[in-house]
Symmetry: C2
Subunit: 339 residues, 2 copies
DNA sequence: TTTTGCCGCTAAACCGTTTTACTAAACTTA
DNA sequence: TAAGTTTAGTAAAACGGTTTAGCGGCAAAA
């Protein structure tokens, strides 16, 4: 009940605190007999050394700090919980604790920097945070950090773990082609950012490799709001002839796109097929359940924690880690070609 | 860059470390002139005091530990992320950090107890954990803790925050009645636990208050698996005449129930209406979107953090905090009575 | 025989703060 | 003016471990 100290244990065992400390840390310089005796007393009393003292002495906190992006709509939180879970699992196996922070878009970076300076944590994992000013500040301050599930240009040379969206888009488009589709459109953001660059790039490359052409009218822009999905569908409906399928660059979009497509009387997949990217929790529960590119959800957390650990330890590391996705067939893609 | 200590600051200001410490902690015993001078140096150098030392001295960690239930299927994680988010927000405003752990069903309690003994955290929030042996052990050890979103008998006298499921079930049933339904069934677990007791109790009370009767055949048992939902629907379909509506005791059940009901050719809400409890993230994206009992998602985290804080501070507190829910009309309840 | 090296062990210093106990000066009060 | 009180300030102890430096004893090497 009361708090035992290392001195209490030392007194009970009739040795110095140094000896006890050596036993606790599995260091040599203690005879087997003494070691046994001390260990027995520790076991019997249930003594555990004070964490703060340990951290103070070692100048390390054995703690990984996770910063989660704070969204109003929890649909955008994508894989946050799964990521958190696997970060925890790996951290634990490495002897690290996990602390948590939520950051909105106006996130203040100095607090994080201070927390590393004071050894409150040894490193940071940023989830879904791509703000360049924050990242470059962290780089300048030489803070050990890793980005996960964010959209960051490769030339920033930021340590990151994410999905291979270029490959995902390529495979998704290829999948549509293999189902017999030859008129394939693209629904996604058109802002010239990394995400657009990768997804559209993969889409275009797949079309090219399949010798397909694409009407610019089939390239539909959509944003993260429901209204924009609605407007997107309405715009497409004015086309003289729709493509038979779309690659939709993200389940967050597909959820709304499918909803409004159905509302406007389009049948899915009879009238249009949708192939998507991400495989969110909700996707399998849509009607029809969404065909999309899926992946091992544990990888985001696992790889980012391992990467951060390498950085903390000063080991060499591969800064960019892209996770491959595989198609999962559900109900939004119509098979045209009979096999 | 290098790590400043309070001694450095003291030297630069030409005062003792005590004076600096007093300034840092806003204590009296320092002249205004000295205070200004020290503060200016702290500001200029960006000095922040070492956390571990502080915690060691004060014998407190200013940290709240959150234990999340680890589920294979993330659908069951219900409101974990929202809860985490609001726990963080309130904790921050109280000057506390948040650490995180995931626990499976074979969770080991001693680690947690140790972490409190060593002041690694000042208190614990258990999310979706109802294991009586764990709870009573924590109670015995006099650990400050709060349960949130768990199913715990009130007579255990465990500090807890959760949904008022009795009231939710009552209101949901009442809602069906007000839409004109008089033949109302109940789909839920029938294990004699708190959850069943509350939801079925609320359902039965609402029927009674509306002078409705209920055929025992309308009481359908379901478990947390897809197969059980399928079996449940198949059993109901053998009835000579179905009720027009069901109270389904939880969106986790409704998701599968609706899926298999549709698969078996039942139209929702034309053939049967479903009123549910919880309002999970997925619920609004089902087809038709699920009518259910919703609530302010921030409350679970907020109230549990406040409650834990009161316990930590040794203030008096109300151990049981039940959050009220309100019906949200979506697409699974048919209006029979014309208004 | 002396030297070297290792082993088991400990006293004391150290990590970076907070807190206690005490001093000297200034300011009140009678 | 003497006594009491408040104020600004500091030295040193405390928190609970880890690490360093050193000591005596013993065995192997020179």
């Amino acid at each position: 009940m009361s708090n035992l100290t290392i001195r209490d244990i030392a007194r009970m065992a009739g040795v110095s605190t140094t000896a006890v400390s050596f036993v606790l840390n599995n260091r040599s310089g203690v005879s087997e007999a003494t070691r046994q005796k001390v260990q027995e007393i520790i076991r019997r009393t249930g003594f555990t050394p004070n964490v703060h003292t340990r951290r103070l002495n070692l100048g390390k906190s054995f703690t990984i700090h996770v910063v989660l992006r704070q969204y109003g709509d929890s649909l955008f939180n994508q894989f946050a919980l799964e990521t958190l879970n696997s970060i925890f699992t790996v951290s634990k196996s490495l002897g690290y604790s996990v602390t948590l922070t939520f950051a909105d878009s106006s996130m203040d970076c100095t607090q994080i920097i201070d927390s590393v300076r004071n050894k409150d944590c040894d490193g940071i994992i940023l989830n879904q945070i791509s703000d360049p000013s924050i990242l470059s500040q962290l780089q300048q301050e030489n803070i050990p950090f890793v980005c996960v599930d964010a959209h960051i240009p490769a030339d920033m040379n930021v340590p990151m773990v994410g999905l291979d969206y270029y490959d995902a888009a390529y495979q998704a488009t290829r999948y549509l082609y293999e189902q017999g589709h030859t008129r394939i459109g693209f629904i996604g953001p058109t802002a010239p950012d990394v995400y657009y660059h990768n997804t559209f790039g993969g889409y275009a490359a797949a079309l090219k490799d399949a010798n397909l052409t694409c009407d610019p009218a089939w390239l539909a822009e959509v944003a993260y709001t429901e209204e924009s999905a609605q407007a997107c569908i309405d715009r497409l409906l004015q086309l003289p002839e729709l493509p038979t399928a779309f690659l939709c660059a993200g389940d967050v979009f597909s959820v709304n796109i499918i909803h409004y497509a159905k509302e406007r009387g389009l049948r899915i997949p009879e009238d249009i097929s949708i192939m998507s990217l991400d495989d969110l929790l909700v996707s399998r529960y849509l009607d029809p359940p969404l065909s999309t590119m899926t992946f091992n959800k544990e990888l985001l957390g696992e790889n980012s924690t391992r990467l951060l650990y390498q950085i903390i330890q000063g080991e060499s590391y591969e800064p960019v880690n892209l996770i491959k996705t595989t198609p999962v067939e559900r109900g939004t893609v119509k098979r045209i070609k009979e096999s």
